[in-house]
Subunit: 353 residues, 2 copies
């Protein structure tokens, strides 16, 4: 029997730790993340040549979104590092933001140590853990964010501080208006897609229904929206425990587009999602349109979703929030509790031995 | 009836334009690419702050490999841009290498124009086309590489010049020994995997057999080997017309590992390939080992492949060449002529209208 996405009984049974409520309260979380960052006694640095954001998983994606958003404006390179080591160029003129929700991510702690050795400027964002300890011992500032969330459900605490810090450092212009509009758009997106909106009027519930029993493949335009597609993938992975793929146009037009042929009996169970935005380069719009006829003959379906809102920040988050909702509803359809992450727990346990 | 990978009659029938011969002669191509770059009258620039490599598809992957290889040594950031536009920070102190095999890639021509507007230093690598014309008109140097190859079959002409140029500019140390060892390793890899080596002794033919009728998912350690996994994917896409996925460890341990659950009836037809290297961080080795038990219960199989050779450059190319061979043999198993790229031709035609 298929799951009734409007049933509160179902929600309570499948989602006892209430992952959905974090998505439903994401506007408030962004507010809180912003305020924490605005009030933080942030050091100012002179003569910074590049910004490095170190993190993994849910913490790194905040860095990806920041990087993609800020690279239109920032007069210096921003790189996100998901590794134990740092690129060779990191030195005393690098500003390294170390982001680990738990404060105990081993890769991130390793890159923190390397940044320290290279005499980089360091600021951390964490709930505590070893990272907070190290910062205290070493005299580096860190923003303490609220504990008790799954890291993926704390994007407002990983992204908003990065955005506010970049502005306070003068790398990007004032974001007050952009943030205000972003929060309005998030609130509207929540209203359309929250649990109390019935499936007949709820885009996220409808999309989850379409994605059920398929492999979702999420394509976005290269640039600012690429990390949004990645966020959709990771939320499908972590909440619904579904394998997914994200990639960008135009690059996929140069290789992956040819792959939509074999093995045909598997590809017919893949569902392609276009994440579209009004400000994509006109050729990217054209490419998405032309690709469709090639894809349609191979796949389960192609669903087109357009960002809403006016400014870029609002448009990015309109799609992030829609994806977050979709991933939780998809978990419900698989009767999969979205909160536990057994494979990661298993990995961590084995690695600790 | 299954395809006999040792039959010359089969090869001639399925591969009339002889894509396999380009892989079998890749050592000679690297030689030629190196010589062209060594002899090129390369300008020297002072006070360069960053290197940008602009390209798409087969040209961009050379940039990815260069970036991953050089970032251990280079004291400045290197970024690969696959887009119509450039990040804001690109200015007169940026060195922009514009790489387009045909010289007519629209995204790359667009980023060339933008680099020019920003007064960046520009060097191009191309067989001709509009890019060569623009460079001549605008007075920028360009290395003319041999025409007549499929861009993906010309990696020696896109990568080797980048490597030699980076050395000649002083961004990385002398590569003479590393290149000599790399070429020896490529020759050895060709000997083991070329057509005349029968399937019973040929790792690439055996691997292609295992990958047939599956979705290949290629995992490499974050860092230098990530672009190698991407190359495997694009070669599967373009030669065998097979959908594939590439990703990196440890990042996949934070999200994608959870996705190996749903939909189970599709995932059992995915085949995971580990690209392993002796110099991965010890925790990355451990992660690959621990992941295996989680993956084994979901997938068609897990195949582990280790790089050969001594230096990093040789080790990278030992796996690239193995992947290139595998992708062509996989094309044969699908009875798919590896050379034509109908979906890309269709796209280009529609875009030109």
């Amino acid at each position: 029997m298929s799951v009734n996405l409007d049933s509160m009984e179902m929600r309570k049974m499948i989602d006892p730790e209430d992952m959905l409520s974090y998505v439903e309260q994401f506007d408030e979380q962004c507010n809180q993340g912003e305020r924490l960052a605005v009030d933080f006694p942030l050091p100012r640095y002179d003569d910074i040549k590049h910004v490095i954001i170190c993190g993994m998983g849910g913490s790194a994606i905040g860095g990806d979104i920041l990087r993609a958003y800020a690279s239109r404006e920032a007069a210096l390179p921003i790189e996100v590092v998901r590794n134990y080591i740092l690129p060779r160029y990191v030195d005393s003129k690098s500003l390294v933001v170390v982001s680990s929700y738990s404060g105990n991510t081993e890769e991130t702690l390793s890159s923190y140590e390397e940044a320290k050795k290279r005499s980089a400027k360091i600021v951390a964002i964490t709930t505590g853990g070893k990272l907070a300890q190290c910062c205290e011992e070493d005299g580096f500032p860190y923003l303490r964010i609220p504990a008790g969330y799954a890291p993926r459900a704390a994007l407002g605490f990983s992204f908003m501080p990065l955005l506010v810090f970049m502005q306070r450092w003068g790398f990007i212009d004032g974001q007050k208006q952009a943030i205000a509009e972003m929060k309005r758009t998030i609130t509207e997106t929540i209203q359309s897609n929250r649990f109390s909106t019935p499936e007949s009027e709820n885009p996220a519930k409808q999309l989850a229904r379409r994605l059920f029993d398929t492999i979702p493949v999420i394509y976005a335009g290269e640039g600012a929206f690429q990390p949004v597609a990645a966020r959709w993938r990771t939320q499908c992975n972590e909440n619904a425990k579904v394998f997914a793929r994200d990639f960008s146009v135009p690059e996929m037009n140069h290789n992956e587009i040819l792959g939509w042929k074999n093995p045909a009996s598997i590809l017919c169970r893949f569902h392609v999602i276009y994440l579209l935005d009004k400000e994509y380069h006109e050729q990217i719009h054209k490419r998405f349109a032309v690709m469709e006829s090639i894809l349609q003959s191979s796949v389960h379906g192609v669903t087109k979703i357009s960002s809403t809102g006016n400014g870029l920040l609002a448009r990015l988050f309109s799609l992030i929030v829609l994806g977050d909702f979709t991933s939780v509803y998809l978990a419900y359809l698989y009767r999969q509790d979205p909160t536990p992450i057994p494979a990661i727990d298993q990995l961590k346990k084995a690695l600790a031995q």
